[in-house]
């Protein structure tokens, strides 16, 4: 069944790219989420406000619309803007870059809430104790809050990863040859759409199952220093 009249390898190649684009997006999401969470927790109101706008707007717009906006709208917007200032800049976005940046940008908003909750879950006494030992606020953050925050963040981040990897299927719309796109190509070539999409769905399922196993391992590892009742 998996040979798919010679198109099986195409799906496997696609799955590889799906994981790659997923990981790339996740790194962007984590970085953005961390920065925005710190902004939300900061006492400078403009940072808090900016991060609030980011999470509110991004979570209210479908991924597909944002992907289309960035991929098709991005280059023309830059062209128009540069034309306005008297330059002529021509930009051609690569689907991999445009897709993973958009997905990362979207899930960064979800990661923000996870990180914010996790930072707040680290008990206040820990930070006070660190400050009492003479650590500055940056050092206390780096040595005390940051390492302990992960235990609270991992379940939430795991969920985000699960949703994110499925969202990468949307990048097929801008012709990135990932799993969904290649399933499409194979379906057209051998005229067995059900078989091809079904195999693709099983590959997504496999990625989900492996991610679940990894998440359980990571959760166990992150809480190994915690006594259980």
């Amino acid at each position: 069944m998996f040979n798919l009249e010679g198109y099986g390898h195409l799906l496997l190649e696609g799955a590889k790219l799906t994981i790659l684009v997923g990981l790339f997006s996740m790194v962007i999401a984590l970085a953005l989420g961390m920065v925005a969470a710190l902004c939300k927790l900061s006492k400078i109101w403009i940072l808090d406000f900016g991060a609030g706008v980011y999470t509110t707007v991004v979570r209210g717009v479908p991924e597909l619309v944002l992907i289309l906006l960035v991929y098709y709208g991005g280059p023309t917007l830059i062209q128009d803007a540069s034309g306005f200032f008297g330059y002529d800049v021509y930009v051609d976005l690569n689907p991999f870059v445009a897709g993973s940046m958009t997905i990362g940008f979207i899930y960064g908003a979800f990661a923000t809430e996870v990180f914010r909750g996790a930072f707040m879950a680290v008990s206040r006494g820990q930070i006070e104790a660190a400050r009492a030992c003479g650590m500055g606020s940056v050092m206390a953050f780096r040595r005390i809050q940051l390492p302990q925050m992960w235990r609270f963040a991992i379940p939430g981040l795991g969920n985000i990863w699960m949703v994110l990897i499925k969202a990468t299927a949307l990048i097929s719309v801008i012709q990135l040859p990932e799993l969904m796109r290649n399933a499409d190509v194979a379906a057209r070539a051998i005229r067995k759409p059900f078989t091809c999409y079904f195999v693709a769905s099983l590959l997504y399922l496999l990625i989900t199952i492996l991610s679940l196993v990894f998440q359980q391992w990571a959760e166990k590892r992150a809480s190994r220093g915690v006594r259980r009742e």
Binding site: G60, M180, Y204
Partner: protein, 231 residues
Amino acid sequence: MDISVIIESLPDFFKGTVLTIQLTAISVAIGFCLAILLSIMRVSKNPFVWMPVYGFNFYFRGTPLLVQLFLIYYGSGQFQDFLSTVGLWQYFREAYFCAVLTLTLNTAAYASEIFRGGIQGVSFGEVEAARACGMSGVKLYRRIIMPAALRIAWPAYTNEVVFLLQASSLVSIITLMDITGVARVEAAQTFAFYELFLFAAFIYLVLVYGVIFLFRKVEQRITAHLVHEAK
């Protein structure tokens, strides 16, 4: 920024918005009923009852909606002969039907897991008291368990509805002219890409926060008797 393009396509965007709301409302309505049924099956102790539901939920929650949509819309073509003999082909040929079917099954899977959490969160004392009053089976679920479970699950269910509203944008890929579909077609004709997609994004933003507002109102209503306890 070319505003005139947006103004000219306002009537189309209006039709698209109606379609988006229609697709979401139908799928949410059918999906809700299906999810209630599935969640009750899901908490059953009989493996022949809960295992199929678990499998269904795992598949629909573990694969992208786009794959499910293509599987039903394009995939059904592989069984054209069979579907024609059963008389279902006329439905599967329609993008609208396939879109509603996919969105319904998808939301039923997600919502039934949310409701399952609600059912398991109902305090056992309430169930025990109902049993002591002589209720069992359907009556117990209808009068005691489901109302309490829905109150617990409501905030999470609000999120699910919001996700479904956003996910409905995928139907534009199978040629339906919802908000995203209108933006794509107009953009291809006028090359006003960012204006149209930004406008589409704006409509979704309004719809999403409208849905959230509506569901908060319902939440306030169904938990009105708990407000004093919380304070």
